[in-house]
Amino acid sequence: MSTSTSATHAHKAEIFCKDESRVDWHSKALWMLREKRDRAAGSLPEWEQLRQIGSEMKLHTLTHLGQYLEEFEQNCHKNNIKVHWAKDGAEHNRIVHEILAEHNVKKLVKSKSMLTEECHMNPYLEQRGIEVIDTDLGERIIQLAGQPPSHIVVPAIHLKKEEVGDLFHDKLGTDAGASDPLYLTRAARAHLREQFLSADAAMTGVNMAIADKGAVVVCTNEGNADMGANLPKLQLHSMGIDKIVPNIDSAAVLLRTLARNATGQPITTYSSFYRGPQEGGEMHVIIVDNGRTDMLKDKILAEALKCIRCGGCLNTCPVYRRSGGYSYNYTIPGPIGIAVGSQCDDTNSMPWACTLCGSCSYVCPTKVPLDKIIHHHRRLKAEAGKLPYGKASYMPLVGKFMASETALNCSMSVARMALKILPGSLLKPFSGAWGKYRELPVAPNSSFEAWFKKNRG
């Protein structure tokens, strides 16, 4: 399955929704994460204070980004870390390839990095003869299946254990029909250990980059980033410019909320701080813009860069849970995907993959105003004359209609009457896509206006 941009979100969601039991299962699995998150957040009396500090700290950093990036680079140099700057994904990939080619790297072990996904780095390197092994179990599963991630924290959440079993039987030689997660995980452990031990270089994403230390922080539960980075002599870390924090104290704030908001754990199993290469080794950090400075030019979009990629907004989103990660026309799905990826969606449908319920904004550990940003994207699309599938032609009419009291009152009383006396089968076709998976509403006896005049007027 690819993230081709030829179909709208609604169309791709429809494909996912064909298997109703899978949709229920998907929704429940993610809601379980949301419940764990609620328990973890509820157990800390200072949770709301941490969100507030996290938000203000990220805003402070984003508004002093140039200063912190330069400070970070200088301190990296003192720690013998090489720093590279990339304007976009293409430059990022070119830099990575140059470093790897210089060291004659044939096999690269990679731990989860949504940035390298955003840059489409794997195919770029593979075309140049470098084998790229994703080492996070979920990432490895979808890599073997030839799929992109469908979630930013649990990338294979859309697959059932039987499907993983079949895939591993095919690719890793596990027993046919085996679907026990423990057995399959152990098989992956053995397979990936061989990859770690034979890799020429390792690459990881960056959860936080600490400006005043010149250090990067990488968080995983599996330890794959550390098994990777600490075996071969060459380690690379890719980071967006938004990953900078001023100091260790600020990193500590985010370390308290990241895992709690993602999976409900008090902290990830490993939170590793790299402040220089291992003895005799080399450490490179690639700082990537790829559209982030453009987002900073818009006051509302800029706040999306406070995101720490916990995935909490995906888990709570009623649309994501029922439409799956592949229905969004961007590498990152869900509310945060809409916020940071709407410009890349040529069907212009992503900002409408949202009910504006605001649940994402309420769970966000750094208070990214996601619903506000998504709403803003709708405005930007309208202003650019890029409203999707007919919205451009009928929305102005809807606006005129709703602005006229007479027209609205008249047609509403007709609608109430029709709902009462006409059979549903006759009315349903008029409700369009809205009515496809919904029952028609029960008509109230009178308009709210009439009720108000009678009872409160």
């Binding site: 995980t185 260790i248 008090p266 701080f273 800029a302």
Partner: protein, 189 residues
Amino acid sequence: MSSKHDILNALKSAAIAPQAMPVIKVAPRIDDLVGQFEASLNTVAGTLHREGGLAKLQAQVDEQIAQGMQIISMLDGIKGNREVTDTAHQLRDIDYAVIPGDLGVAENGAIWVNNKNLGHRVTPFICENLFLVLEAKTIVANMHQAASKLTLDSGEFGTFIAGPSKTADIEQALVVGAHGACSLNVYLV
């Protein structure tokens, strides 16, 4: 250099007005730090041994050696049967590693480990099982206190370890033992 220049230049037209850095002052929960630490360690699938200290650990190590296990000890006072190898890769068959922790965090059960005590950086990850040793007096309440105490000199590597390696990538079923250590026992001294 030109990309760096371009990025820094583009940042000059950022739209939000400069915001002040907030004061990070969060009240720590300081009652029964060891008890809190033990409860947190349990939730991340680790085990705390409160009594017995190094003697209990050495007995455990001896028992494992008697069963033919390969044990490397990075702690003075605990004797294993393997030495630090020339290359990190040669640690691939280590069954147990004994490593001193620098500080523990009560709120999440994490223990800070510094590469000064690791031989090779990969030691706590490549071993099949991990024994960490922690002085009770080094346990702090939360990550804010930990941040103010942790040492990370230029060129170093350090990591907070909270339990054994784990994953839930297959149908959200928690499996302990992904790439790193499959079990974690912490001995309090």
